[in-house]
């Protein structure tokens, strides 16, 4: 049985690298990632209520709202943050489609788009359903949708 009742050093696999960090039992993954020890501030705190998606990261390649996940739950899983994408096709697509303005929501959308591209083919309905998990307050969703679609389509072709 795993238990965590006081702060403890754990090893997390983040962007394919083992990272040691001290966590509290009631610490969300968003908090751990953005803390001084890891400094991965790409995942953004927005609502911290599961609504906006700005905090989205991938756990085993599945988009996950890191404000709704305790860090201790993902010890044995692979965590990917926007810092781990490193010029992934989805990032290039966001640039070429001008799919952002202020950029606050962008890392969350990138993570959903990247996860979708890893899944291979996705029809328009599925793509929209995944993207509905995130909210953007500045730009038009059309550019975001186009950017994701270009990557999903190019994966398929």
């Amino acid at each position: 049985m795993r238990s965590l009742t006081r702060p403890e050093e754990v090893t997390l696999t983040i962007n394919n690298e083992p990272r040691e960090v001290i966590i509290y039992p009631g610490e969300t993954l968003l908090y751990t990632l953005r803390g001084d020890a890891l400094g991965l501030t790409g995942a953004k705190p927005g609502c911290e209520n599961g609504d906006c998606g700005a905090c989205t990261v991938l756990i085993d390649n599945i988009p996950t709202k890191s404000c709704l996940m305790l860090t201790v739950e993902v010890e044995d899983h692979s965590i990917t943050t926007v810092e781990g994408l490193k010029h992934a096709p989805i990032q290039e697509a966001f640039l070429s489609q001008s799919a952002f303005q202020c950029g606050y929501c962008t890392s969350g959308f990138l993570m959903v788009g990247h996860a979708l591209s890893l899944q291979g083919a996705a029809d328009q309905g599925r793509l929209v359903e995944w993207l509905r998990s995130n909210i953007c307050r500045c730009t038009s969703y059309q550019e975001i949708c186009d950017a994701v679609q270009s990557v999903v389509r190019s994966e398929v072709e």
Binding site: R2, T5, G26, P63, K65, L68, L70, E73, S133
Partner: protein, 281 residues
């Protein structure tokens, strides 16, 4: 946001989980069984819950079963809603569960967490409330108990403190070939809590059953409403009007919509669903 004041436990067996709850309670803690954590964490954040310890059930094999066996389908309480939808063993459950929250959150929410949510919606429970055969396996200190879901449901699914939901079993005959419709109506956005969610099934004898979420402070079924909806000699719109007038409780008035608006949307949606269901069968 600082870390929450929570102790974390992830037992490997049903007995460990039951013992933990008992021990923590004795030590004056306020433990909660933890599924996806989406509700527990959001409630703890706004200090709307007294929990100070969570017992994460997701490492217990019985809570993760997802299978067809001996003519039934079994759904572990720890299954994520996206897993339930992707495997699609029960299309009606897929249809209701796949409209809860958004896709990312559904890959975190568990079936058990949705059924035992403190919120009024619990849309994934609708198929189980309409089913004659649905049974819940409940872990108790006295051993595993099986209950008919309909017998244990009265506004909430009744569990004694310290007991937890392990899985739900539904007969394959009820799953296969039953015509159904499920529709979630929201105020503006596609992703939102429901103004009303309606699930309908047409049974082999032609009778209609309906379940509702969003209309009241809890999901419900009503034999009176079912009787009205099953009278195939009347038009769908007449039946829908009559059903709305004979709901077991008045519609809510809240930020999602006024009572009158809810009644209008329910009647209109119900009429359309009845028409489609009867055209198809």
């Amino acid at each position: 946001m600082a870390p929450f004041n929570l102790l974390y436990y992830r037992p490997d067996t049903v007995d460990q989980a039951l013992d933990l709850f008992r021990i923590l309670s004795k030590e004056q803690h306020h433990p909660a069984f933890y599924g996806g954590g989406t509700e527990i964490l959001t409630r703890v954040r706004v200090q709307d819950a007294r929990f100070d310890a969570v017992i994460d059930l997701k490492a217990i094999p019985e809570v993760l079963v997802h299978r067809e066996y001996q003519g039934s389908a079994e759904f572990g309480a720890g299954l994520r809603l996206t897993h339930v939808a992707n495997r699609n063993l029960w299309p009606l459950l897929t249809a209701t569960a796949d409209r809860v929250a958004d896709h990312t959150v559904r890959s975190q929410i568990t079936l058990g967490g949705n059924l035992l949510s403190a919120l009024p919606y619990r849309e994934a429970i609708l198929p189980f409330l309409m089913s004659d055969s649905a049974e819940a396996k409940v872990a108790t200190i006295g051993g595993m108990r099986t209950h008919r879901v309909r017998d244990r449901y009265d506004q909430t699914f009744k569990l004694k403190p310290g007991d937890f939901l392990v899985s739900l079993v539904v007969d394959g005959h009820e799953i296969q070939g039953l015509a159904f419709k499920s529709r979630k109506m929201t105020r503006i956005d596609w992703i939102d809590y429901p103004l009303v969610t309606i699930a309908l099934i047409r049974r082999r004898n032609g009778g209609i059953r309906a379940a509702f979420s969003g209309w009241a402070g809890f999901p419900f079924v009503s034999s009176r409403v079912d009787k009205i909806l099953s009278n195939g000699r009347r038009s769908p719109s007449d039946r829908a009007k009559d059903a709305v007038e004979h709901m077991p409780m008045p519609a809510l008035s809240d930020t999602h919509g006024s009572r009158a608006y809810r009644e209008f949307v329910t009647q209109y949606t119900l009429a359309g669903m009845l028409e489609e269901l009867e055209e198809e069968t």
